[in-house]
């Protein structure tokens, strides 16, 4: 019993040291990826939310989640794709909850009695098209939307997107093609807006 009482603090301290060392290693490794992948997380979130402040919050949340689960990621080379999926998922959750909140607020505020609010952005033609595009993008299936967003980002080739998402190259290409066609179908009726730009 004496031995147990004497050894316990030593083993606890040792395990504490081991844990801290492992944590420091994980932190270092994560930091190395943070500078490269942080902007990616932000841009994915921004592509979904179309709001810089919200996107920054979501990117932070996604990076924090990624850090907490970093030890579970065995193949560290897949970090980017993993982070992209986390960011996309968190951003979608945020968008859905924002929509729910908006619906609730709209219901409570009884908008039929309120005058329609038109922002300067909506009035401007170029911004109007961007608004239509955002809405059309939002209606795309998630798989198509994510691939299209990644393909529109600077610095990512189709091959990189393919390895990032873990899908074949041909699938990435066909998803991009289908997504663009779907967007065009939705935006064709706003073609006159484009002429104004």
């Amino acid at each position: 019993m004496q031995e147990l009482v004497l050894n316990q603090p030593v083993s606890t301290a040792r395990s504490e040291l081991v844990r801290e060392a492992a944590q420091a290693d994980a932190r270092r490794e994560f930091e190395e990826r943070l500078a490269e992948c942080g902007p990616l997380a932000f841009r994915v979130a921004r592509g979904v939310l179309r709001n810089t402040a919200d996107a920054e919050d979501v990117a932070q949340e996604a990076l924090l989640r990624a850090y907490k689960s970093f030890h579970r990621l065995r193949d560290r080379s897949r970090f980017r794709g993993w982070l992209v999926r986390i960011s996309f998922r968190v951003a979608l959750d945020r968008l859905r909850s924002a929509k729910r909140r908006e619906q609730r607020d709209t219901l409570w505020a009884k908008p039929e009695h309120l005058p329609p609010v038109a922002s300067a952005e909506e009035i401007a033609a170029s911004k109007q098209f961007q608004g239509h595009l955002d809405r059309a993008l939002e209606e795309l299936p998630e798989k198509l939307r994510l691939v299209l967003l990644l393909s529109a980002m600077d610095g990512y080739t189709i091959e990189e997107i393919s390895s990032m998402m873990g899908v074949p190259l041909g699938t990435v290409k066909s998803r991009i093609f289908i997504a663009r066609k779907k967007l065009a179908e939705k935006l064709r009726c706003h073609a006159n807006t484009i002429k104004m730009r």
Binding site: M1, V5, Q8, T12, E16, R19, Q23, R27, F30, E31, L34, A35, G38, P39, F42, R43, R46, G47, R50, T52, A55, E56, A59, Q60, L63, L64, Y67, K68, F129, Q130, L133, D134, L137, L148, L149, L150, A152, M153, D154, F177, R180, K181, L183, A184, L187, R188, A191, I194, K195, R197
Partner: protein, 237 residues
């Protein structure tokens, strides 16, 4: 309006970003409306790509990475704050358990403690002229579900110390009978004395059984019967 036959083909070509070739190229060269429609499609896809590029390449706020780092630090600190007390708490619980294991045998009391607390009268010889008094107030009615294990040890001790009378735990259904017994004992002191009188102690002695004595046996043939003998061959004589 583009020609219906070439409508899908020119959308496909515009979507893929390729240049029209072959039959489509010849038709576009000849048909003005299809050419206009093709230019419109190209403009539409260019606008989509441009809009997507704008949306996808927004300037990353400078504050993003420092904030993430700060939140990571915060998360680690919080984790540490949780882990350390948890470790100490578990060690404390283990130590308390060990102490409990050490202390327990010394304080161990048999489970029949409450059975002893009634202070049942020990067989003592009452002195001549001893006045026996059992007051009904000293009878303690036991609960219907007596939990002997959880009966607080100290409570009976305190109670016993407070009153000089012996205490008896009585279940509620036997209370009336005991009250009658007490009343009867108070009336007939000799009965009470007989109750409390010591029993003559018998020392256990070895039980011995005397050997069974059987008188001499006399064997006589029964009257009116013939003697049968057998020679072992099965023949009777």
């Amino acid at each position: 309006m583009p020609c219906e036959h070439y409508k899908d083909a020119l959308i496909e070509v515009a979507a893929s970003g390729a240049t029209p070739s072959g039959e489509l190229y010849a038709h576009l060269d000849a048909c003005t409306s299809c050419r206009d429609a093709f230019v419109e499609e190209q403009t539409l896809f260019a606008a989509i790509d441009s809009g997507l590029h704008t949306a996808a390449n927004t300037e990353v706020p400078v504050s993003l990475l420092p904030r993430v780092r700060a939140r990571l630090d915060e998360a680690i600190t919080t984790q540490r704050h949780w882990i350390q007390p948890l470790g100490f708490a578990s060690a404390g619980v283990a130590l308390a358990f060990l102490l409990l294991l050490i202390v327990r045998p010394h304080g161990n009391v048999p489970n029949n403690v409450p059975k002893q607390t009634p202070a049942a009268p020990t067989p003592m010889a009452p002195a001549a002229g001893t006045h026996i008094e059992i007051s009904p107030s000293s009878i303690q009615v036991a609960s219907t579900t007596p939990n002997l294990l959880h009966t607080p040890r100290t409570s009976t001790v305190k109670h016993s110390a407070a009153s000089s009378h012996p205490e008896i735990l009585v279940p509620p259904d036997e209370r009336e009978g005991l009250a009658q017994l007490v009343a009867m004992l108070n009336q007939h002191k000799d009965f009470a004395a007989a109750f409390l009188a010591p029993r003559p102690e018998k020392k256990d002695a070895l039980v011995t059984v005397d050997p069974l004595l059987i008188s001499d046996l006399e064997i006589k043939p029964l009257e009116g019967t013939e003697t049968e003998t057998s020679d072992g061959t099965g023949e009777r004589h």
